[in-house]
């Protein structure tokens, strides 16, 4: 294992992309930064620019309107980049799977490395998923 891949595993910077989520998952993502869960212990932090991202955290069922934006954001992220589908909608489409504007789920649009189901997933579940992703990288 080289030094850069060790660094990659220990320092995942997360860019959070809302692809048509109802905001519940997004609130739970913010919970991970609070003192109780403190995801910075694992070296993770939320970044504002996709050019700094190592993990694309995609929440939401990917509506037709945001489909081109999701693809463009993925292409703009510097490789290697891992993609995590968050929430029931991100993993399967959830209750929106029969909707007229459903273009997802996330793994139909971009390659996904980890799935975190739940509606919304608890912060413990998010941390568990991310740690499993770290083991996989």
């Amino acid at each position: 294992m080289g030094a850069t891949s060790w660094g990659f595993k220990k320092s995942l910077w997360v860019f959070h992309l809302n692809a048509g989520a109802c905001n519940n998952c997004d609130i739970e993502v913010l919970d991970c930064l609070t003192p109780r869960f403190d995801i910075e212990r694992f070296g993770m932090k939320l970044v504002g620019s996709v050019k700094h991202a190592d993990v694309l955290l995609v929440s939401g069922f990917v509506s037709r309107k945001v489909l081109p934006d999701v693809i463009e954001t993925y292409e703009q992220a510097p490789k290697p980049v891992a993609v995590v589908a968050l929430g029931a909608c991100g993993c399967t489409g959830g209750i929106f799977r029969d909707g007229y504007n459903f273009a997802g789920p996330v793994d139909k649009v971009i390659p996904v490395d980890a799935y975190i189901p739940g509606c919304p997933p608890r912060p413990e579940a998010i941390i568990d998923g991310i740690v499993k992703l770290m083991g996989k990288l």
Partner: protein
């Protein structure tokens, strides 16, 4: 020839780039850990900044469409080199007494180059948010340079005979006690710490970066190794500025006997002050920052200067 090689080694390894980078990254960990404790969190492990830099070195460098390649990639390198030179000059003046006439002015010049590099790099990236960040950084440089220079020259005025050599200031302090013992220099020190906050673009003066507003502003478009250079020069600034203040106001670095402990304590105190200011203040608007520096801070700096002239 040997001395040229020695200088190159000084610049590249000890006290220059490599040493400054390692200690700077450790300081950045202290910064993140203290911030985490202030917010009642646990915080990252000690190797976190090193992992960040190593990871960034292994990632793809993206150059945005329509960006000026040369300016975009070389401006951060100029900043990194400038901080390395400043660190080398300060340490050589402290350890070997190796100064030359006017090196203080050289240090003041070189300390602005990282900011200028960020302005050039951000303007060359062709991103609207980055260019807003660049324009704010420009205003911030104009705002803090005036009180910063007045504060440093308060110390120069206090030293008799007046000297612009770093080792001259150190020699004066070795004989007559540290400059921080004088009222004028305490005021100048406070002003300098406030300006350091803006030089490091830390809150409350992080207007050019503004995480939530400009998405990292000036270095928004950087990725991979280029971002590593930007982050590294920030870490090195965090190391170099406290060393500069210790040299000018607080008796300099001593690497013999108990001096090592005192030096570390001085350094940690200055870093902790900077980190605590960072954690207890919200971001100000750019107009408030300029008004703050040109108003109260400059007045304070001038009061310090006048006190130094009347001999306090």
């Amino acid at each position: 020839m040997a001395s040229t090689l020695g200088l190159v080694l000084n610049f590249l390894i000890f006290p220059g780039l490599l040493f400054t980078a390692i200690v700077g990254l450790l300081t950045q960990w202290v910064d993140r850990k203290v911030s985490a404790r202030v917010q009642w969190r646990v915080g990252p492990p000690w190797y976190q900044p090193f992992a960040d830099i190593l990871k960034l070195l292994g990632k793809e460098i993206l150059i945005p469409e329509g960006a000026g390649r040369t300016g975009f990639l070389f401006a951060p390198l100029a900043g990194l080199a400038a901080v390395g030179v400043v660190s080398t000059m300060l340490w050589l003046a402290n350890i070997q007494g190796g100064g030359f006439v006017g090196d203080l002015i050289g240090v003041l010049y070189l300390l602005t180059i990282p900011s200028l590099g960020m302005i050039i790099g951000a303007a060359a990236s062709g991103n609207p948010l980055a260019s807003v960040g660049a324009s704010r950084e420009m205003k911030l440089v104009l705002a803090y340079e005036l009180p910063f220079i007045i504060a440093i020259f308060t110390a120069v005025t206090k030293v008799s005979p007046m000297t612009l050599r770093l080792d001259g200031i150190l020699d004066y302090q070795a004989v007559n006690g540290v400059l921080l013992g004088n009222a004028s220099c305490i005021i100048a020190f406070i002003v300098a710490i406030l300006c350091a906050q803006a030089k490091l673009t830390y809150p409350p003066f992080d207007v050019p970066e503004a995480d939530t507003e400009l998405m990292d502003g000036t270095h928004m478009e950087y990725s991979g190794a280029a971002l590593a250079v930007v982050k590294l020069s920030q870490a090195m600034m965090l190391f170099t500025l406290p060393i500069f203040f210790i040299t000018i106001f607080w008796g300099g670095i001593v690497l013999t006997g108990w001096g090592i402990l005192y030096t570390i304590i001085k350094y940690v105190i200055i870093v902790t002050i900077i980190v605590l200011i960072k954690n207890t203040n919200p971001r100000v608007r750019i107009d408030q920052a300029v008004r703050f520096f040109w108003g109260p801070v400059t007045v304070l700096a001038i009061i310090g200067m006048v006190l130094a002239m009347v001999g306090l």
